[in-house]
Amino acid sequence: MSALLEARGLSRSYRLRRGILGGSVEVRAVDHVSLTIERGRTLGLVGESGCGKSTTGRLALGLERPDSGEVRFEGAPMPAPNSAEWRRSRARMQMVFQDPLGALDRRLPIGAQVAEPLEVHGLDTTRVIPLLESVGLRRDHADRYPHELSGGQRQRAVLARALATDPAFLVCDEPISALDVSIQAQVMNLLTDIQAERGVGMLFISHDLRAVRQVSHRVAVMYLGRIVEEGEPDAVLHRPAHPYSRALVSAIPQPRRAGAKLAPRIVLQGDPPNPADRPSGCAFHPRCAFATDICRAVVPELAPRASDGRTVACHRADDDLPAGAWTTPLERVA
């Protein structure tokens, strides 16, 4: 049985105009990204903003066509966006957005909006109330307007709408980053519960490694359009293989136990990544303490490393990299 969704070698570039004077620059948002999402499982995609993770989500969902590469959903190729076939296929795959207020029509009551996918796909619209209840909203929320709900309730409504057609695949693009911290956990729990109940495959996109770990069965780390590491959440979080993953992990605030030594925080040096001006070789090398000549010249492939089979795209993946080396150029000068 094939995977729920398979993406092979996806690339997507945008032309970005530099003002009125300059010519346009090609920005490679996503570069040779391959993903596999299994039924009932969640793949977490993590990276800083601008690294191409949202574009990857849109490509996986077929909202955009990749310049090269292919997405297969349940074994069949993704139809062209906005074709009739594409529209029909939407019943099987859905999206949860970062900004629930923006994703809802402020002029329609919640019930009408949750009923909309059912109307579009010719399904039974009496399912609205049970749907609302299944995401923890009350029956009377159906008559409310989006601005009358709280942020968490709105995200529940968006989720109810996404689940209305009983999709097999859900892309959650930063679903909790616009919510209060106290509500984030509730929505995360809701997502895991829904998955357990309905067996939905998910692509969970976030810049927050902890959130990703909590819901994901596998994690992929993205940097400037490429996946640099993939693996089990615990492995990636506790023994990150790629220098960039290490930096991400070290940025997570740790509760400090009495007497424990505080792990050194890795502060990334160098210019923040600019997709329009991609460094040669490994895109991370200008910020990497372990970069060597080969890193500046050759793009590392994502492959299992020799020592323990972890999937990572780094020339120095098999070297023993000391933690102290992260006191990088600036600090050494000082």
């Binding site: 530099r18 003002g19 009125i20 004077l21 300059g22």
Partner: protein, 311 residues
């Protein structure tokens, strides 16, 4: 700047092509162009000669190309009323129109801009309210009503000024005032809102909070920035120097381009109408182009350069 200039020139060129195409299509839709351009009384051999000369027996796209050729060589047909060349007829009228619109433009600028600036600087004062009332009145009272009211007052009741005609400079006073007041009102309203917008910007508040004298804040920061949007409407006023007096010229029987247009429309003298249409469009497009380029000079942001820190 070069790329900016080229884009604007290209857009202007496209618009000119569209205007000429519009004239071509409309002329084609409304009947036999040879007969229309030459006039109904033209001898048949002249019409035939015209047809061959303009290639009206050729396929449509050839005609379209040669229509462009004719227009850019200044061959705009003849008036069906007196058989004279349309372009000559129109050019003859231009000085009379300019005699109204140029002084009126000065009134608009001299009255409208200071009024708008003062209203903005003394917001919600009696002066501001007076300017706003003037501006609203200027918009809601159509020029033909204003003109006729002025005639009723100054010509009919008081007998100070002539009500129409073009015999002396005194005849120009009422039409110039009519044109000037309406435009001044629009300009005052526009300048006021441009100025208010600029005065609300953080850099103005920063400058005055830093202790820069208010006069200097206004002179060095507010005025130059408020000038940028105001240039657009002034450019439009320049563009309408030829066409902006259609109604007023009719009210005061002033023999300018506008009145020529109205009579030509009433008589369906299409060569003349087409000639004025093209001339006005060219003037407007040129004025818009100059405004766009001036914008580039005044507002460096539009050239795509880095945004310069203000204040």
């Amino acid at each position: 700047m070069l790329r900016f200039t080229i884009t604007r020139l290209l857009r202007a060129a496209i618009t000119i092509v569209m205007v000429v195409t519009f004239a071509f299509v409309v002329l084609r839709l409304s009947g036999d162009p040879a007969q229309i351009i030459m006039g109904a009384d033209a001898p048949p051999e002249a019409v035939d000669a015209f047809r061959t000369a303009w290639g009206l027996d050729e396929p449509l796209w050839v005609q379209y190309v040669s229509y462009f050729g004719a227009i850019f060589s200044g061959d705009l047909g003849r008036s069906m009323r007196d058989g004279r060349e349309a372009i000559v007829l129109v050019l003859e009228r231009i000085p009379a129109t300019l005699a109204l619109t140029v002084p009126a433009l000065f009134i608009k600028l001299a009255l409208g801009i200071p009024a708008g600036i003062l209203a903005a600087l003394y917001r919600n004062s009696a002066l501001d309210r007076a300017v706003m009332m003037f501006a609203v009145a200027g918009f809601t009272i159509p020029s033909f009503v204003l003109g006729l009211l002025l005639v009723l007052l100054f010509a009919v009741q008081l007998g100070w000024l002539p009500s129409g005609g073009q015999e002396s400079w005194r005849h120009a006073i009422l039409p110039v005032i009519t044109l000037g007041i309406g435009g001044a009102a629009a300009l005052a309203r526009f300048t006021r809102s441009a100025m208010l917008e600029v005065l609300g910007q953080p850099y103005i508040r920063t400058a005055s909070a830093k202790g820069v004298a208010w006069r200097r804040v206004v002179a060095n920061h507010a005025l130059p920035n408020a000038a940028i949007p105001t240039v657009t409407i002034i450019g439009f006023m320049f563009g309408s120097l030829i066409a902006g007096a259609v109604v007023v010229e009719s009210v005061f029987s002033w023999p300018g381009v506008g009145r020529l247009l109205v009579t030509a429309v009433a008589n369906r003298d299409l060569a003349v109408v087409q000639c004025i249409l093209l001339l006005v469009a060219m003037t407007m497009i040129t004025a818009n182009l100059v405004v766009d380029l001036l914008y580039g000079v005044l507002d460096p942001r539009l050239r795509g350069g880095a945004r310069k820190a203000e204040a």
